[in-house]
């Protein structure tokens, strides 16, 4: 299992160059800085279209390859096999967004996980297609207002719940699945370091709030990210050896979801019954996770 580690304890140099073209307060930039410092220079990383490719590509001096939006899982499979057959050991990383993971990228990712390719998949989840102007994705939460689920007379935002990709990945029985948040860097670093040492398919799903798309002050990115965790809407856990489930952060008491959601413009329209639905679901899911904490998942 992973062990929380502060950034100061991570050896090696900073990979990410100063300055990048992401929006102010972009969670992905924080994530990239942490992730690549942990992974180190002996890393090939890959992109599919999205915020990461556009905003961060030029500030990451590492070997890089981009591919078609739907091809992330196949690309890292090809790279790792091509390296290994020539006797090379490098970290091969897919650093993709929620669309490239959960929607258009799901098929190739699932196949790569099923083959247990020796790669690390980092899903930087900002919960919509932010690079194209904030259209809903399969990872957008219910009732969120996006540019394709706008709130208006006949619409209350996104109609369906967020897809549970970490559990879908856990059901592939791969060596490691974890959720993480940029507001909990020690937890995130511990998970990255643990994953780095394992062979096989590793999946880390990081919630990365987007000031532009979620509608909050750029200075509040970490605060929003923390409240999403503390309210139970983004629980932090890991699944090791294909089934062992463990919550890696357990707030003594969940904060009300309203505290997290009221900071975000995309939820400005919520009425009491909608808050109640989200609140009920967060508590219900949290209890279910507490029930299986420290146990084997039936997958």
């Amino acid at each position: 299992m992973s062990k929380p580690t502060p950034l100061q304890r991570v050896e090696g140099e900073e990979i990410m160059a100063l300055g990048n073209s992401s929006c102010q307060g972009c969670g992905h930039a924080t994530l990239a800085r942490i992730a690549f410092k942990v992974l180190g220079k002996n890393t090939v990383y890959t992109s599919v279209p999205g915020c990461i490719w556009i905003a961060l590509h030029d500030s990451l001096p590492l070997y890089w390859k981009g591919t078609v939006f739907e091809g992330g899982g196949a690309l890292i499979s090809g790279i790792v096999n091509g390296l290994e057959i020539n006797g090379k050991e490098m970290n091969v990383v897919g650093f993709y967004g929620d669309g490239g993971t959960a929607d258009i990228g799901l098929q190739a990712m699932s196949a790569a996980a099923e083959r247990n390719e020796n790669v690390l998949w980092i899903c930087a989840d900002n919960e919509a297609y932010m690079n194209t102007g904030g259209q809903r994705s399969g990872l957008t939460p219910i009732y969120a207002s996006t540019t394709t689920t706008p709130v208006a007379k006949e619409s209350r935002g996104k109609k369906s719940n967020k897809k549970n990709i970490p559990f879908i990945m856990a059901a592939h029985n791969i060596p490691y699945v974890a959720t993480a948040s940029i507001a909990y860097p020690n937890d995130l670093i511990g998970k990255l370091e643990y994953a780095k040492k394992l062979r096989g398919f590793k999946y880390i799903h990081v919630q990365s709030p987007c000031p532009t798309g979620w509608g909050f002050e750029p200075a509040r990115t970490i605060k929003v990210a923390r409240l999403m965790v503390e309210s139970g809407m983004w629980p932090l856990y890991e699944v090791t050896e294909g089934a062992n489930f463990r919550l890696t952060y357990k707030p003594r008491e969940l904060k009300p979801v309203r505290e997290a959601l009221s900071l975000q413009g995309r939820f400005r329209h919520l009425d009491d019954s909608e808050y109640e639905y989200i609140q009920g679901r967060a508590v219900d899911k949290w209890r279910q996770l507490l029930d299986v904490d420290g146990k084997k998942l039936p997958i």
Binding site: K41, N42, V44, T46, P61, L62, Y63, W64, K65, T67, V68, E70, G71, G73, A74, L75, I76, S77, G78, I79, V80, N81, G82, L83, E84, I85, N86, K88, M90, Q107, A108, S110, A111, E114, R115
Partner: protein, 388 residues
């Protein structure tokens, strides 16, 4: 010593891939391609071939996976047919610098039998396209494709096609060259750049970005791609010298053309039938010859211009159609010769579509009409032969 075995076209392709010491293969099953990768999977399983087989969930992933492996420095192969090829279209537009090699077993979009519309739908991707007439040519072209694709002046993806069923599942005697001779002729893949922590990244990034982001990128890409015609001829000449077999000049082959007044142009297995027809007609005193087109992309326009200087009529057989636009080879042939002062007549014939049999009688009719055009204007210039 090279030895000869009776084998189907798909096995000949698999042997070519094995002899080329391919390191990473990725493919998805589709008729009539499937058995190529089954043979390869067997070679790997029984230890005859030291390679990784990535068993992907789709053709699109197969293409992306071999591109990734090629980027990582491995020699790669994939194969597919008709609909699978259409699914690869998106990633085929990428990877301009990656010397991936692909075998296509032609399958129509209107039956499981062959026509060339599948590969010709990938006409504009910047992939070198070579077409094969028989199983020996399939094996030889597989080996040659690597030498062409990996040529440091090019580093360009290359594909070769064989007609589904007619070759894929039909056995012919095929000479298998010695591994040592192939090893000597085709050394291990040494790409210019591979991911390596010790390589200066700035230079690599500059190299990577050079064919992206502007109109100049298109110009550079087109210039590089066109230059592959010379490389193909050179590689072919070299192959002929070492292995004692050749296919015209690597781009086109003129068969029984001495003293001909008119020629017909054919691709793939139709060329095989056409040889017999042309030989018969020559014996009867008709001045007709055959031109086999092996390389469709880049289009060997210079070759066609020199044909146009020698012959007074050219009948182009297209086993393809650009719906609403005509035969691809016919159109490009006419376009290639347009600026010449003395132009021969160019006739077009669509035939063999959806795998319909192209008989010697049909080819004879095409040849006779082409011969007639030497003397008199003849219409219509384009017709469908068969398919009633």
């Amino acid at each position: 010593m090279p030895h000869t075995e009776l084998m189907v076209g798909n096995k000949a392709v698999a042997y070519g891939v094995k002899l080329a010491r391919v390191q990473v293969i990725s493919a998805y099953p589709i008729t009539p391609q499937t058995t190529i990768v089954q043979y390869i999977a067997e070679f790997i399983a029984n230890g005859e071939m030291k390679a990784r087989f990535i068993e992907v969930e789709s053709e699109l992933s197969a293409m992306v996976a071999v591109q990734g492996a090629s980027f990582a420095g491995a020699r790669t192969f994939t194969a597919t047919s008709g609909p699978g090829l259409f699914f690869m279209h998106h990633p085929m537009m990428e990877g301009a610098d990656l010397p991936v090699v692909m075998g296509v077993v032609h399958r129509s979009n209107k039956s499981m039998q062959p026509d060339h519309t599948d590969l010709m739908a990938q006409r504009d991707n910047g992939w070198i396209q070579l077409y094969c007439e028989n199983n020996q040519e399939a094996l030889d072209t597989a080996i040659m494709s690597y030498k062409i694709a990996e040529d440091p002046r090019l580093s360009t993806p290359t594909t070769f096609g064989i007609d589904g069923y007619i070759l894929s599942y039909t056995a012919e005697p095929v000479e298998i060259p010695d591994q040592e001779v192939v090893d000597d002729w085709l050394p291990l893949f040494k790409p210019k750049w591979v991911p390596d922590v010790n390589v200066p990244l700035a230079e690599w990034k500059k190299y990577q970005g050079r064919m992206y982001g502007s109109q100049k990128a298109w110009i550079d890409h087109d210039t590089k791609f066109r230059s592959s015609l010379g490389v193909i001829k050179e590689v072919h000449r070299d192959f002929e010298k070492v292995f004692g077999r050749g296919y015209g000049n690597g781009l086109i082959e003129e068969h029984n053309c001495d003293g001909a007044e008119a020629v017909i142009v054919a691709m793939g297995t139709i060329a095989s039938t056409a040889r017999v027809v042309v030989d018969d007609m020559r014996a009867e005193g008709n001045k007709i010859g055959l031109v086999k087109l092996k390389c469709y992309r880049p289009f060997p326009a210079d070759e066609f211009r020199s044909l146009a200087e020698k012959y007074h009529a050219i009948g182009v057989i297209d086993r393809n159609v650009s719906l609403g636009g005509g035969g691809n080879v016919f159109n490009e042939t006419r376009s290639a010769i347009y600026d010449m002062e003395k132009r021969p007549r160019i006739l077009g014939f669509h035939t063999g579509m959806a795998g319909e049999e192209v008989t010697p009688q049909m080819i004879r009719r095409i040849a006779e009409k082409t011969l007639k055009a030497v003397k008199e204007p003849i219409g219509p210039a384009v017709e469908w032969v068969g398919g009633a």
